[in-house]
Symmetry: C2
Subunit: 434 residues, 2 copies
């Protein structure tokens, strides 16, 4: 087999066999196939796409490139979740203890991804003392004992995904449906869970801007995922405005704690319950999403999810007092208000701009290894549909790096679109694919 | 500027500015832009194409990557020619001395390209003693003195083309119209001629299989070439069956000598005269292609072109006796005939198969630096339209490497399509673009 022949086959619209795809992935991970041939192949995939069979084979080959997390020694049903990413996406911090409280096991591997706001790992680490770099052995042990883990991706799982993602990032080949699907699914398959729910975000602040795009990704993920022998379900959820009222790291932990206590923003609670209910349905613990949501809502309202969160934080070395008294979480030295420039109704609140502003304030990282400020971020005091008066505070900026404050302030101010009439209400859960 | 942004711009169908293209080419040649980003860019160009302005900028940037041949010290008009390559394409060996005999200067840089048959340099070197590795100074001196040179590409001219071609070859990005055009034109512009004729081959034995494809390439070459400030014309010529009756290295030299003496196969003579006449018209030495052809035909028939060829061979250290007595050229120890399996008319003679057979017999090279056998090749005793009797010899195989002889023999036999009726005659010159 020659790499150039496979590149040309894909370039000309042909369908690669599973053996051909495995040969490419293995050869690339082993260093036999150079970056430049893989880059050309990925760009050909960008233009030609991949069949479902090809995507299955790509995912499988990527899973085979490293170790798999073996959760079989843990009694009970293991579940997992993946989000395509948005602004204020605090869901994981709530869902992991909630599912554990319901009796399932959820060992979530997350990232410290580049971006305007940190990844789940960055958020979780804003709780003083929390340690996320766990070995596979530690993860399994904690999953067995507590039922809940939030740990950093380990390098041993799916090395092909790390290599391919780094290459895609610098060659303009990130936004390809089959490549995104194989990246997401390979990590979930290697993660060892029995059932997985996918949150495909859609809108201004998400990777997928339109509903048809988001739906196509969700369908591909569920179809390919099911062919790989696991139970998958997906929700397409709105990400035009940020989820909840916080974007940042410690700020999102504070918000997660509110939801875990049965309080907090309604939209975040709604997405958490909807995703959790899909998992309950997938594993047979609820006969319908509605029944699942009611069951999980009780766990939030009765404090059981919050108790499990305390247990999770303690298990990973975190300071439980900071969870019980969230004012102990990192706080910004400077907090600046953004005021409404006119009266009216908030008709839109651009999630992408809020995310960018978070980055400018110090909540994200532009290059690998950069230190983030856990206290930095944006607190939203008004959201879409709210009536506001001129001069009323719309948001609070929690300033980590003051050098970009004027820019961040302008960005947040412009993220609010204020008009004379209230906008038509729009749903949060846009589609359900099972 | 970031390479990934330019990759994405092209991927999304945008038009790059001349400054952006120059930055990419310069960065790649300097090693600042890695192979994998250039490979992704080239694949995006494969799918999205390039505007004429982009192709002009790419060609210019490639020319600027190295030295240009400065022929300005040579009195008279300098001409050049390029062929996209075919089987039995002996044109250059005839055209260079012919144009010199007509009073123009033709310093032709050629390749030792990979392929089933050798490049022009390999053919020319099958004359004992001929030296083709000339310095730029030697080329200019000989062009001034003799009016004719056939020399190996020097590394100093268009290093960007060498680097890009090597990358395209292993990344499935060779067959892209703007990339082909920039490669061809950059070398011709750097070659320093005033007027250039292009022979775009079309058919089974050529890179361009269909007339629309070949015509599109020819048009692009002439349009972009003219925008680069040189005079260009192109002919699209048929390459369904090999040109002439010889394919190989010394065999093609023998055939070139026949044509230079006013003899030889009619089709080869016709293509030589047509291309030469376009050059005469371009530089104002003929008022029409017809007048140019008549002028050049006289130079062949009166022996003036052959005299110039002897001078050319002598100037490059070759043994002139081998030109006067071609039996002194390298000869294969073994010659095998292929017989007609049935009577009828030759309806097709597949050029690609004849080329492949040449390679099997030892006339080409599969990897860089491989030694070729100058005597190896295929001599065609019948061509399309000829009536043949069962058992009559169709071709002679001049065997360099006997190990693949059975395969080569089968290939040549199957290259002849023999049927009951004579085929409709088809033209040799398919289109003219000026």
């Amino acid at each position: 087999m020659r790499a150039v022949d496979l590149i040309e086959k894909k370039r000309d619209g042909g369908e690669l066999t599973p053996a051909e795809i495995r040969w490419l992935v293995q050869g690339y991970v082993a260093g036999r196939i150079p970056d430049y041939q893989m880059a050309a192949f990925l760009m050909a995939v960008y233009f030609r796409g991949m069949s479902e069979a090809e995507t299955v084979a790509l995912t499988q080959s990527m899973v085979e490139s490293g170790e798999r997390m073996d959760l079989s020694a843990i009694p009970g049903v293991k579940v997992d979740k993946h989000s395509t990413g948005g602004v204020g996406d605090t869901v994981t911090l709530v869902l992991v203890p909630l599912m554990a409280a319901s009796g399932l096991v959820m060992a979530k591997l997350s990232g410290r991804a580049l971006g305007h706001t940190g990844g789940t790992i960055d958020k979780f680490e804003s709780i003083p003392g929390v340690r996320t770099e766990l070995s596979l052995g530690e993860i399994v042990e904690q999953a067995k004992r507590v039922g809940a883990v939030i740990a950093d991706h380990t390098a041993e799982l799916v090395p092909a995904d790390r290599l391919l993602y780094e290459l895609r990032d610098v060659t303009g080949t990130v936004p390809s449906l089959p490549l995104i699907a194989a990246s997401v699914l390979s990590k979930k398959i290697a993660g060892g869970a029995d059932a997985i729910v996918l949150d495909v975000k859609c809108g201004d602040g998400a990777f997928m801007r339109t509903l048809p795009e988001a739906r196509r990704l969700a369908e591909t993920l569920v179809r390919v995922g099911n062919r790989l022998g696991k139970k998958f379900a997906a929700l397409v959820t709105a990400m035009d405005q940020p989820l909840g009222r916080m974007a940042g790291n410690a700020l999102e932990v504070r918000q997660a704690i509110e939801v875990l206590r049965g309080e907090g923003p309604k939209d975040l609670r709604e997405v958490v319950l909807a995703l959790g209910a899909e998992l309950l349905v997938l594993v047979g613990e609820a006969s319908s999403p509605k029944e699942g949501q009611e069951k999980l809502a009780r766990l939030l309202d009765e404090g059981k999810a919050f108790a499990k969160f305390r247990e999770l934080v303690a298990a990973q070395g975190g300071d439980v007092r900071a969870v019980e008294e969230p004012e102990r979480l990192p706080r910004a030295a400077q907090v600046v208000e953004v005021l409404a420039p006119q009266s009216g109704y908030v008709q839109a609140l651009r999630a992408r701009a809020i995310g960018l502003a978070c980055g400018l304030l110090g909540a994200g990282r532009e290059v690998k290894g950069q230190r983030i400020d856990p206290a930095a971020g944006v607190e939203l005091l008004a959201k879409v549909g709210d009536a506001v008066e001129r001069g009323q505070p719309l948001a609070r900026l929690h300033v980590g790096r003051p050098d970009h404050l004027p820019e961040a302030r302008k960005m947040v101010e412009e993220a609010f679109v204020i008009g004379a009439t209230p906008p038509a209400p729009s749903p949060l859960i846009l589609d359900r694919i099972v």
